[in-house]
């Protein structure tokens, strides 16, 4: 319990009168495969937005490795090893996958400020980009414009792009949504193959994926933390079932 990588304290976010995130105090351990589940509209994506600096919180704090990052801009959080994927693809539609990933790697290596050397001159960056794309099965389309790629491929690029920043804490917002059935496990197996000290926080609706992937689960309902526990505890918890069934009924 001692090694907490990511922590929120009394995090709140209001949209007008609506409380999207209600007093969430979440602790994520180093190397955890932590899943965040909850019915639609429970505020899962809002929470991720608060963690990554896409939205500022109304109240409360976010800590990364014990340091308060509440007021840091997104790019500074990424530099500190916290990155994410988006539920709805957020890509550069005019870029090719190669350009997209190469830029992320160049920024990670601090080469983004160089305005004189051609990107083609960064051999290591280009090689790494190619290897990463190959790992995600995107090698064959690396030179196509992203906007014309099939949705499944764009989805893979979305995840590959987060990998390019070599995060120490990776937040995955429904990574499998829209990925063809036969490629889903491929995606999750790549995520599972991450080094053990990389922490993953996963939002996912597919319970099979959650139960096979996560070692700890937090349940979010109506913006607040409902319960938290191991996979066995959560899957046996009748209240969690009620929350889900209640929503479906």
């Amino acid at each position: 319990m001692s090694d907490i990588v990511l922590e929120t304290r009394n995090l709140k976010r209001r949209f007008g009168a609506f409380l999207a995130t209600n007093d969430v105090s979440l602790k994520v351990e180093r190397g955890a495969r932590h899943a965040l589940i909850g019915p639609n509209g429970a505020g899962k994506t809002t929470l991720i937005n608060l963690l990554t600096g896409v939205l500022p919180p109304s109240e409360g704090q976010v800590f990364l490795e014990g340091e308060d990052i509440t007021s840091l801009a997104s790019f500074r959080r990424v530099k500190r090893g916290l990155t994410r994927t988006f539920q709805i693809n957020q890509l550069f539609s005019d870029f090719t996958p190669l350009e997209t990933v190469a830029l992320a790697i160049a920024e990670r290596e601090g080469a983004g400020h160089n305005l004189w050397k051609s990107m083609a001159g960064y051999d290591k960056v280009v090689d790494e980009a190619a290897a990463l794309l190959a790992r995600f099965g995107l090698a064959s389309v690396m030179g196509e414009r992203t906007v014309i790629l099939p949705y499944g491929k764009q989805r893979l690029l979305e995840i590959a792009l987060a990998f390019a920043s070599k995060p120490r804490v990776l937040l995955l917002d429904e990574p499998a949504a829209g990925v063809p059935e036969d490629e889903r496990h491929e995606v999750l197996s790549i995520v599972s193959a991450l080094p053990a000290d990389v922490t993953v926080l996963l939002i996912e609706h597919d319970m099979d994926l959650v139960f096979s992937f996560a070692n700890r689960i937090s349940v979010l309902v109506a913006g607040a933390l409902f319960t938290e526990g191991t996979v066995a505890e959560i899957s046996a918890d009748p209240r969690v079932k009620a929350v889900y069934l209640g929503e479906n009924a």
Partner: protein
């Protein structure tokens, strides 16, 4: 599950090597010299020999082209719309005039000083465009442009007010090349500055920095999530663009030996935007193509209908917008493959 994993690994290993070599090729192809680039510079040089009586309009095109290429760096790359780009053009023009009038007649010195002065103004005003949407940026930049025009008008003791600055003659370029009556030296001078400026901005365009600008334009939120410090990059790009806009203004002063408040007029900011609408944004040469077309059309219209040419320019703009800005921005891609190949890997 482990079978799937194994298969993936095997596939990955065999394809990684070929992917790497292909990636290197694609990246190199990105920044290679396009066919149309060679043509444009050859034509520009050929014009010097073929059209000796057209030096003035060729000079005008070269100056407008440099101005437009500099705007493309902020508009086409960083996605920052500006209606006040002429603030830098005008400042450069006045600085070059004042330099020639009071200090150094040698034009390259004036050009560099004008560029630096415009860059400093760009650096300071860049912080005003970091916030807000396109509309607020349009208003802010418009305001900066109008304020500069009024400052020039009010500081008559320095700028000559409404009468402008005159009574100076630029000396020989680098002490070697005298300006001549037909504007031949002036054209070559402007063409060389345009060429050097375009080549510098071209390098920037294909650097990681240039890519990060396009990423900011494409999706600012995601750019932040791959660690692109957007504000810093925009400040730098805006400053560089201001330097070259200032140099374009200096060229106008030096080739006409005159600065009037017109260099800060709103219509110049609008014209240069129109040039980019015509030529397309995001690949620098749109500024050059656009400047050629815009100047020739303007010249032609003002000959056939001296009083109403602005009406036709307006009509042209309306038609262009109706056709669709997106399609226009990509018109280079409709050129035959060998001429274009803007994108990679086809």
């Amino acid at each position: 599950m482990s079978v799937v994993q194994q298969e993936t690994t095997v596939m990955a290993n065999s394809s990684t090597a070929s992917a790497t070599s292909r990636a290197a090729k694609l990246m190199k192809r990105r920044s290679r010299i396009r066919f149309y680039e060679i043509i444009i510079w050859v034509v520009a040089i050929a014009a010097y020999f073929v059209l000796p009586s057209k030096m003035l309009i060729l000079t005008e095109i070269a100056i407008l082209a440099l101005f437009a290429v500099s705007l493309d760096l902020v508009l086409g790359f960083a996605g920052i719309v500006s209606l006040g780009h002429t603030a830098f053009f005008g400042l450069g023009a006045y600085i070059a005039g004042l330099m020639a009038l009071h200090y150094v007649a040698e034009p390259v010195t004036g050009l560099i000083v004008a560029g630096i002065a415009a860059g400093v103004l760009g650096l300071f005003t860049s912080f005003l465009i970091l916030r807000g949407s396109d509309l607020t940026r349009l208003m802010t930049t418009l305001g900066i442009g109008l304020m500069m025009a009024e400052v020039a008008n009010q500081m008559a003791w320095l700028t000559g007010g409404a009468d402008g600055l005159s009574g100076f003659l630029p000396g020989p370029i680098l002490g070697l090349f005298e300006f001549d009556l037909f504007g031949k030296t002036g054209y070559i001078y402007c063409l060389v500055v345009l060429f050097v400026g375009t080549m510098i901005m071209r390098r920037i365009a294909f650097s990681p920095f240039g890519m990060s600008l396009k990423a900011i334009k494409g999706n600012a939120m995601r750019a932040g999530m791959i660690a692109v410090p957007a504000r810093k990059r925009i400040v730098i790009a805006y400053t560089i663009a201001a330097v070259f806009a200032g140099m374009a203004g200096a060229l106008l002063t030096q080739t006409t030996s005159f600065v009037s408040p017109d260099v800060l007029a709103f219509h110049r900011s609008a014209d240069v935007l129109l040039v980019l609408v015509i030529g397309g944004t995001g690949y620098l040469y749109g500024g050059i193509f656009g400047a050629i077309l815009f100047t020739l059309v303007k010249d032609w219209l003002s000959v056939i209908t001296p009083q109403y040419w602005m009406f036709y320019i307006g009509l042209l703009l309306v038609i262009l917008v109706l056709i669709g800005r997106d399609r226009l921005a990509r018109w280079v891609e409709y050129l035959p493959e060998r001429f274009s190949k803007k994108e990679d890997g086809r």
